[in-house]
Amino acid sequence: MLLKRLTQAMGPSGFEDEVRGILREEVSPYVDAIYTDVLGTLICEKGRSQPGPCVMLDAHMDEVGLMVVGVENSGLLRFRPLGGVDPRILVAKRVRIGSSKLPGVIGSKPIHLQKPDEQKHPIPEDELFIDIGAKDKEDALANVQLGDVAVFDTLYDTIGDGCVKAKSFDDRVGCYILSEILKKSYAVPLVGAFTVQEEVGLRGATAAAHRIAPDIAIALEATVCFDGPFVPSHSEGTRLHGGPALTVQDGRTVADVRFLRFMMETATKHNIPYQLRRVKGGSNDFAAIQKSREGVVGGAISIPLRYMHAPAQIVSSKDVENAIRLVDAILQEIASGNWVEERFAN
């Protein structure tokens, strides 16, 4: 199962190789050309010589992770986050390190030994370490090098009513949606970009957008969802099962209103549920693509994701399915010539 394979693969920013391998194998039979750029972004071209605006679909392959930056004499590993990791969620988690996927545990002082004051505060990042069971520094360095990366050790599974649980839905769910779309055919020039290093600053998308020079771009993402009973409506971001989320403004983009209207109208026309993302924080690759060259029209379609950047995350299978339907409908509408900028300009 593709989504399972993608989420269980290892791919922190800059180390996307395993994910790229899976995607290359998966989509190769369906595209005209497939290649990587110098940063490692996997670019897939399909029907590029057809008439019509060139559409770039973007999904980033990388996930947040940890990087080993030191080894103590005791053999314990010091690390630093790669991307936005909340240190408070790290304590006592299982991780896998390096391409050999060496198992490790993020250790911490047990409650029995903590002083009353220590129990009141989260353990600071510099007091956390990864334990790989090494007996000393030399033993540790026989298995791990500085610069090796680690990701959470989480298995994909179905959970509850119509949900799935895994690590790294951000943004393997986007990669999954893009793969499914690339398996279909549309009467528009289409370029899929599985980008690198989004979590450290939209770096892969910046170079990819310059190379591809699209007319229209859509980032396929996972986005914050915290729809608990104790959260007011304006603080939940999105709702699970509420359909794919469209952005009005985030930390790095103000929506292109015309394309936003086009996407909303398309969803309504095709009877696809959607929601507007109700939070300013966060961003995605579209922010970088929008500013590329002479500017690019487009937006983002995001899957509501509970517990973003945490070891175990939850998405709704229905939301994923509806996102695929929405991207499919948008491409059909563009192919039919129904995206006309002026028509959506108020």
Binding site: S233, H234, S235, V248, Q249, R252, T253, V254, A255, D256, V257, L260, L276, R278, V279, K280, Q290, K291, R293, E294, G295, V296, V297, A345, N346
Partner: protein
């Protein structure tokens, strides 16, 4: 100049919503331009072909505002910022949305002044249910603070959109003068500057200027609480040394300084640390293989607040300085 500023101030143009102002801006320059366009990001561009290096004047069209991000059960709106407005300053202000709907910004009960964030604010548009409010407004609709153009005596003016309609007026005036001199000149009214200089890069990429001159509000500190001021209202245009986005090359800065001298205009210098007066300059400077950039700004009091005070004479002198510098620039 005052009338021009006044007419530009009548439009609502939050970041991403600059198109409400685009036509009026185009009308002010179309008759002297060879090409005009609005690009994909909403930058409004006019070019006059002519002699000399291609000088591009850059003034941002957008103003800071707010955006609706939720409509609550009783018809109250929840908002996020769009630009640099500080949430604490908005309490009690009126806001007008892009479709003309007005409301009052207020604060959740039991919030201390020091803690005010956008999540504590709401807008009352006079509706009592989510359904009736939803008939008037929608998530993603933007608005600006109601603070109309007002004259303060003979030469000073204030209002909520001074930053940067004054800059647009200066750029229009200078562009027209340079066109009349048959110089090769463009003007760009840039989009989405207040959210972080997002529009200008695309226009710079398209135009490849030989020299870009940014025109923006230069915050001045000649107000109670400062013993010594570095920039003052009414003391002439501000030549940018550096802001949080760009250090202007000494060659360009000297050229601007000499141009002011040649015209007998008193000028001041702007040295602004990051965050205090960030402009489009950095995004321009780092486009393609690099672009020569300078800044000629007008002194403005209370930048970032809901109403800014400007002296029209400073604006007039900024335009004269820009025309001199652009027409004598040799590349």
């Amino acid at each position: 100049m005052k009338e021009l500023i006044k007419s530009l101030c009548e439009h609502i143009a939050p970041p991403g919503g600059e198109r409400a102002l685009s036509n009026e801006l185009l009308e002010k320059v179309r008759d002297v331009a060879h090409q005009t366009s609005i690009d994909r990001l909403g930058n409004v561009i006019a070019t006059k072909n002519g002699d000399g290096p291609h000088v591009v004047l850059m003034a941002h069209a957008d103003q800071s505002g707010v955006m609706i991000m939720d409509i609550a059960d009783k018809g109250f709106l929840r908002i996020i910022g769009a630009g640099n407005l500080e949430p604490g300053r908005l309490v009690g202000c009126q806001v007008v949305f892009q479709n003309g709907v007005k409301g009052v910004v207020q604060l959740e009960a039991n919030t201390k002044d020091a803690e005010i964030r956008f999540d504590h604010l709401f807008v009352d548009i006079g509706k009592s249910s989510k359904a009736s409010a939803s008939e008037l407004v929608h998530i993603g609709l933007s608005g600006v603070i109601v603070a109309p153009f007002t004259e303060l005596g003979a030469t000073r003016i204030c209002g909520g959109s001074m930053d940067n309609r004054v800059g647009c007026a200066i750029a229009i005036t200078a562009f027209r003068d340079l066109a009349a001199m048959n110089r090769h000149v463009s003007v760009v009214f840039t989009a989405m500057q207040t959210v972080g200089a997002r529009g200008v890069g695309a226009a710079t990429f398209a135009l490849s200027p030989d020299l870009a001159i940014v025109v923006d509000a230069g915050p001045c500190d000649d107000v109670p609480g400062h013993d010594v001021s570095s920039t003052e209202l009414g003391k002439g245009p501000i030549i940018q040394v550096m802001d949080g986005t760009a250090i202007v090359s000494v060659r360009i800065r000297r050229h601007l300084e000499e141009s002011a001298k040649k015209k007998g205009i008193a000028a001041q210098f702007g040295v602004w640390p990051k965050g205090s007066a960030d402009t489009d300059a950095g995004a321009i400077q780092l486009t393609k293989a690099g672009v020569a950039v300078g800044g000629v700004h007008y002194p403005a009091r209370y930048v970032g607040s809901t109403s800014t005070v400007v002296d029209v004479q400073d604006a007039q002198n900024a335009a004269i300085l820009i025309v001199e510098a652009a027409s004598s620039y040799e590349g």
